[in-house]
């Protein structure tokens, strides 16, 4: 009987294959046994797992209810997976898929990347034993099956929520998460480090790095492979190739072709028919030699095998990694087979296993969507329809894209560059309008910055749209290639400040600090979407030095936009006063100004009238404004959503240099605390950081000598 014990439950009924009459039914072939296992509910709901006959695959029906997952329920840790048979593993994969779809439909998060690696996760945990063996997931957004299989299934409903599971592997969260990731292309480097440590400590575990074809476009992956090949330490690298390099994996018009020459090389790897011909040629030679010369025939075959390597794999071979593939990444049996054999070898050295997967596999709405449902909010499982909340305003990203398009319409020299984030940076819209002026360089921030520098050196006006936290990767290029030479590259840093559910790996806390300390850089930040449009225009006219502006994740506040989305350049180094008051001045930088305004309104209810100013520029500072505020007020508070060393630091430096600090002024700087803020809802994070309106009000009150009232706010 092909039924495993876990499928039998008292309230279940199962029938043998009656609904699909099959003339090919062969009693000796177990694969064709069709099993219907369903939990009988009183309201007659059936959650079916029906096995398809033809290829032994599972057909899944997605419903809005919690799916029945009898086998997955027995797995709490990878150790429980060791004794499963191949059929069980396939069933487990199907149940995992259902669980992930169900879970992500309730919480939102990254869906299709996880679906693509279900079989791989099952195979890895079956063959290897974490936490002794280390599995490092590059980027980590595909690690949901890994988390479910390593004991975090009960907490999946808290994914990406405050105090819940992190959206990416995190060492603090579980011993099964070998390395913290979030930025891409780090897995091979980290894996190699762990492998070398293992060798030095004389241990004997396995290290596996799982990296995608998108992450493979980053230089660090090659740096790591180059080193791995040289050191020759035992290491398994799994290249998960789903032909989706950029995010979202679609332009506005449909699926995007993978960017870069590498992708076509990877494609060639699968398509080679020469291998087959070679093998057949080898076979025919053996035949001709004849049956009597067995040894010779065997040798010929062996040498033929040795000669055979897929064309194009020489790239990896040259780097020193032994290439195996392509492999069907959705075939659990094959994956287990390969992994077991590689594990059993004493000295394989670094090995690269190239698996082909499909993003969103097994969930038809994801397979059909142009962007494959990469990142989703809550959705309806049967249809895949997302429940997107309607907002009265658009996101800052969209306003940025609109105003950049407007600028580019009148100025032909404006070009845009991004690093595989067409959707996230809004440049997909720009791409649609000006396809030849938008450059997606793949996950290569360093290259993007220097590439922009090259464009600027020849007179073009490049706008580099890179997330604040990802720009960290290209920082030396910003300093050395752009700022030192004073090339007019414009940096549009999206996702500045706290970013909510993605957590500290994506948080843009440091950009004010690292940009404003550069001698030639103009550093500005808009307080709302209209200001953002004006700053895009301002950046477009700054042609003699580099400039940057930062804006947060989230939607606009509803400010009045300039006509036709065309901003006007503002005077460089000039801030503005939003509210007039006395005794206390709050000088905000960036979108946090809105929190300052909120604080001022709260204080009004206490009959305290404070001045709120929007600095707009961190470099060059509006010294007149600061001097005026210092002269007319007793207390000056600077507020920014950035780390220490940023705006507040520049203001205090100026005040001390000008001698104002020698006087009666009370100066306080409110910055992000000296620790990483965990993922959560944006409002929770702001509170955690101490920068919400009420916390600003509380600060004011305590400075005014009214600590009791401050407590009421805090």
């Amino acid at each position: 009987m092909a039924v495993s014990g876990t499928l039998i439950r008292p309230n279940q009924y199962f029938s043998s294959c009656v609904n699909t009459p099959s003339p090919r039914f062969n009693p000796s072939c177990r694969k064709q046994f069709c099993l219907k296992a369903s939990a009988g509910n009183t309201d007659g709901e059936e959650r079916k797992l029906t096995r398809k006959e033809k290829d032994g695959g599972w057909k899944i029906e997605y419903t809005a209810e919690k799916p029945a997952t009898p086998l997955l329920d027995t797995i709490n840790y990878p150790a429980h997976m060791k004794n499963l048979s191949t059929q069980d593993l396939k069933q487990l994969a199907a149940e995992l898929r259902m669980d992930i779809v169900h879970s992500v439909s309730q919480t939102g998060g990254h869906l299709s990347s996880s679906l693509g690696v279900v079989e791989l996760s099952v195979a890895l945990h079956h063959v290897f034993s974490t936490p002794d063996d280390k599995i490092i997931w590059d980027v980590g957004h595909q690690a949901y099956p890994h988390k479910i299989l390593t004991g975090r299934r009960p907490k999946m409903h808290t994914m990406r929520k405050t105090s819940g599971l992190a959206g990416f592997p995190k060492r603090d969260e579980s011993v099964h998460d070998a390395f913290g990731v979030g930025h891409s292309s780090t897995s091979i480097s980290a894996g190699l480090g762990m492998a070398v440590a293992r060798d030095l400590l004389g241990k004997n575990n396995n290290i596996i790095s799982v990296i995608g074809d998108g992450a493979m476009t980053a230089g660090q992956a090659y740096e790591a492979m180059n080193n791995a090949g040289y050191l020759d330490s035992n290491l398994i690298v799994i290249l998960n190739d789903n032909k989706q390099v950029s995010l979202p994996t679609a332009t506005l018009d449909g699926p995007a072709t993978p960017v870069g020459a590498l992708s076509s090389a990877l494609t060639k790897l699968q398509a080679s028919t020469q291998f087959r011909k070679l093998r057949e040629a080898a076979k025919s030679i053996t035949k001709q030699i004849g049956g009597q010369t067995h040894e010779v025939a065997a040798k010929v075959d062996e040498y033929a095998r040795g000669m055979i390597s897929a064309s194009g794999s020489t790239l990896f071979e040259e780097l020193g990694l032994y290439y195996i593939g392509p492999v069907d990444g959705h075939n659990v049996e094959d994956l287990v087979n390969i992994l077991q054999r590689v594990k059993a070898m004493p000295a394989p050295g670094p090995v690269l296993i190239h698996i082909m997967t499909e993003k969103g596999k097994g969930y038809p709405p994801a397979e059909a969507a142009a962007d494959r449902m990469h990142g989703v909010v809550k959705f309806d499982p049967p249809t895949g329809k997302q429940f997107k909340t309607k907002s009265p305003t658009l996101s800052y990203t969209q306003y940025f894209a609109e105003s950049l398009i407007k600028e580019a319409e009148t100025d032909e020299k404006i070009v845009a560059i991004h690093a595989a984030m067409g959707g996230g940076t809004g440049l997909n819209y720009f791409q649609k309008k000006f396809p030849d002026r938008c450059f997606d360089v793949g996950i290569a921030e360093q290259h993007a910055v220097t590439f922009a520098a090259g464009l600027a050196a020849e007179g073009l006006k490049p706008f580099c749209a890179i997330y604040s936290s990802f720009l960290q990767r290209g920082y030396d290029q910003v300093v050395h290639d752009v700022d030192l030479q004073k090339l007019p590259v414009r940096f549009a840093m999206d996702r500045a400040g706290l970013v909510g559910a993605d957590g500290p790996t994506h948080c843009g806390a440091f950009d004010i600090t690292y940009m404003a300390c550069l001698p030639n850089m103009v550093v500005m930040a808009p307080s709302d979407e209209a200001e953002l449009m004006h700053m895009v225009a301002t950046a477009a006219v700054i042609d003699d030095r580099p400039s940057c502006f930062r804006f947060p994740r989230g939607n606009g506040i509803g400010a009045v936009l300039p006509a036709h989305n065309k901003g006007t350049a503002i005077e460089i180094g000039k801030g503005r006063i939003l509210m007039e008051g006395s005794r206390v001045a709050i000088l905000g930088y960036g979108s946090i100004v809105q929190q300052c305004v909120g604080a001022a309104n709260m204080l009004k209810t206490r009959d305290i009238s404070v001045t709120v100013a929007d600095a707009r520029f961190c470099k060059p500072l509006d010294t007149e404004l600061i001097k005026q505020l210092a002269k007319e007020h007793e207390i000056l508070i600077t507020v920014e959503e950035g780390s220490i060393g940023g705006f507040g630091s520049h203001v205090s430096h100026y005040l001390s240099l000008s001698g104002i600090l020698d006087g009666p002024l009370k100066l306080r700087a409110m910055v992000l605390p000296d620790r990483y803020i965990d993922h959560g809802a944006p409002q929770d994070q702001l509170e955690e950081a101490g920068l919400s309106s009420r916390q600003i009000s509380a600060t004011v009150l305590s400075l005014l000598g009214r600590p009791k009232e401050a407590l009421q706010f805090a």
Binding site: G202, N204, L231
Partner: protein, 198 residues
């Protein structure tokens, strides 16, 4: 010349679907290259309609390539293919064909349909172009373009990685010989040495 005659169950026994002209009433003057006819050919349901063919189609027409059938150049774009298909489909659709020539038109319609299906799918078109380049003109579904190519490709892959694994095993057995001075090899020898001592 070998003939692969395939009788369709339930059809007249003298109706053969042949890849080349051997069984046809009219001798084929054109030199046609022998196809490598795979015994794995399968006929989908649409091909069953071909049973109605009764030799009304001329020898020349059977030799038409898909491109010639649709009347487009070999470098035709998807748009051109679509246009040609639509035109011909409208012309040859059984419902609008003149009475008495229904069977002929139906057969043409089926061919046009198949031509479109093959040429509009870039993978199948590539395969078809390849075959044509090699001089193999397999008319009318003799070549199993309909077969699940995914399975064939994956079968290829499996052969390949199995060989690769064997090769890796072979290499791995002598990888840590004295001569190999890589860091990893030295560490492994050290570890093995320690293990032996223990």
């Amino acid at each position: 010349m070998q003939t692969y005659g395939l009788t369709i169950p339930g059809a007249d026994s003298r109706l053969y679907i042949t890849p080349i002209s051997a069984a046809r009433p009219a001798p084929d003057p054109k030199p046609s290259s022998l196809p490598v006819f795979s015994s794995r050919t399968r006929f989908g349901s649409i091909k069953a309609k071909a049973a109605t063919m009764n030799g009304a189609v001329t020898a020349e027409e059977k030799e038409l390539s898909f491109y010639e059938l649709l009347g487009i150049p070999e470098s035709g774009s998807i748009k051109e293919i679509k246009q040609a298909y639509k035109q011909l489909a409208r012309k040859y659709h059984p419902d609008v064909s003149p009475p008495g020539r229904v069977e002929e038109y139906t057969e043409k319609f089926i061919r046009v349909q198949e031509a479109y299906e093959t040429l509009s799918d870039s993978r199948r078109r590539a395969l078809y172009d390849q075959d044509m380049a090699r001089g193999l003109h397999l008319a009318f579904s003799a070549r199993r373009y309909q077969y699940d190519e995914g399975m064939e490709v994956k079968g290829d892959w499996k052969n390949r990685w199995q060989s690769q694994l064997s090769e890796l095993k072979r290499r791995s057995s002598y990888k840590d010989d004295r001569q190999n001075m890589s860091w990893g090899a030295r560490m492994r020898r050290q570890r093995e040495g320690l293990a032996d001592e223990v």
